[in-house]
Amino acid sequence: MTDLSDEEAVQKAYLVDSFPCGAFVTNQAKTILYANAYFSDTLHWDINQLLGSSLDTLFTLSSKIFYESYVVPTLLHQNQLDEMQLIIMNGKQERLPVTLNARFDQNGLIYWTFFDATKRDKLYQELISSREQLQAQAQKLSALATTDELTGLLNRREINRIAEIAIEQTKRSQNQIVLMMVDIDFFKNINDTWGHQEGDRVLKELGALLNKSGRKTDYVARFGGEEFLIILSDSNKAEAELFAKRLHTLIATVIVNQLSVTASIGVTLSDGQKSYETLCHEADTALYEAKDNGRNQTHFYA
């Protein structure tokens, strides 16, 4: 080789053997027509054995699938492919991540170059793990920020946020939005007589019942100590009456000292023109009417 001039060396394509990256040529039948010395020097292949064999010798099964479903269509559309990461086999049958570029010529030959991407692959892996961790954390945090810990219902902050959106949507619909304030009767007595643990059990049980009671589009929140707020979007008075009746029956299935728990309910409706603050106030007023009238009943704001 030493007796060749630089120019001659280029002409005889020895140069491509000196680059520290892989270069090879395949045809559309996936036959390897050329492979540079990188294959023998670094990848431990016997080049003579490689020439004439199928690309499948070099590609792992997953790379083969990518070749068929992605590489070929991309080459057909764009004539070239950049920065594709695949896994190839070296001569010792070890898997090696590589970043490939490929170009398609008019005769249907594919010219490939690639470099070892082991370190880059590790970096990508770290990035992907971080992304997954962040997503999981974000999901957890968002659940924490929107859920009441004891009952698993929406918390007050979240229902406040949702209510504003639901009121906006009501303005554009034919139907009404219903706000129901549900308050357990004599809850203080339960706590004082049977202890806070018993009180918590009642809240938990009731929370689970309320959560199952509504439609997918209804929202149920623990609004305060023993107070729950339910929003029925896209509803009307008849539905609200029926729903309240069902709630009283459901609530009665929670038992303390062999007696059914009862609750009072205050309800208000709107076509979306009233503010959330007003609606809360109205539901609250109706709730106190229900309490004043002897509890264990529903009162509609009028």
């Binding site: 559309q28 479903s69 070929v72 559309h77």
Partner: protein, 270 residues
């Protein structure tokens, strides 16, 4: 139950053609209802055709995507049930491609009264090799590597992707055409679907399918060998197997003329 309008929007449902019989087409991984375009013109002459996209694919409403729900094929089967419930269609022939066939199978087991029979194009109940009795074609290592490559080639997924897997020895013009209308897929969604597809094992569900089943199998398919078609045919209580001399995993796109007549015969004989 979901409202009709909600499901139609969520799953990008399109009902075309007319006929006494209804046929629902369930696409596979990495594509959407467009992949049926080579057989729909003929089918819609005879039947009412229901086309839809699974949530997360094609023009479905991605805001309805639930990573938990759609991490198993049962979640996708619920999409099929929801579509038919919303449209109030019964006695339906369901045609599935690849994993779409297995999803159809799960829907049939869940709500048998909705369906009359099932046609499957290149199905596989399990892609994993589970020696010594079953060879789905892939070592666990291969499938993990496949998902890994999906992650590492993140950007590429939004461009060209021939519906997995076309078969490279088909004419390049055909491959070009077929990959032309690639349905852009959110990479996270695609990966979740891929996981549910490639790591599932529904061999145990095959015996529970009571409906008549027609299996189309490609002779040279890098995702499902002919032995898999034979396995399914032997496990399914009431099935027949038709092997097409073809390459690739998308017979309904690469060889529509070979499958259309047997398919119509199967649907009509019911």
């Amino acid at each position: 139950m979901l409202l009709k309008s909600e499901v139609v929007k969520r799953n990008n449902v399109n009902v075309i053609g007319s006929g006494e019989k209804t046929v629902l087409l369930a696409h596979g991984f990495g594509c959407d209802q467009n992949m049926w375009r080579f057989i729909v013109p003929e089918l819609s002459k005879h039947y009412r055709i229901v086309l839809f996209d699974f949530v997360g694919s094609g023009q479905s409403d991605v805001s309805q995507y639930d990573i938990q729900k759609y991490s198993s094929l049962e979640g996708y089967a619920q999409d099929i049930v929801d579509v038919l419930d919303a449209l109030e269609f019964e006695d339906v022939t369901v045609v599935g491609h690849s994993v779409g066939s297995i999803i159809a199978l799960l829907a049939c087991i869940k709500r048998p009264e909705l369906f009359s029979n099932v046609a499957m194009v290149c199905p596989s109940p399990c892609f994993l090799n589970l020696p010594p009795d079953y060879f789905g074609g892939f070592a666990k290592e291969d499938l993990e590597e496949l998902l890994n490559l999906m992650d590492k080639n993140y950007i590429g997924w939004a461009e060209y992707l021939a519906p997995l897997v076309m078969g490279v020895n088909n004419q390049s013009a055909l491959i070009g055409e077929l990959s032309d209308s690639f349905c852009s897929t959110d990479p996270i969604v695609a990966k979740n679907f891929a996981k549910a597809t490639f790591f599932s094992d529904y061999r145990g569900s095959l015996k529970a399918l009571t409906h008549d089943t027609l299996i189309f199998q490609s002779k040279h398919d890098s995702l499902a060998a002919t032995t898999i078609g034979e396995f399914m045919d032997s496990e399914l209580p009431s099935s027949s197997l038709k092997v097409i001399d073809a390459e690739g995993h998308c017979l309904h796109m690469t060889h529509p003329n070979e499958i259309i007549n047997p398919l119509i015969k199967f649907i009509t004989n019911d």
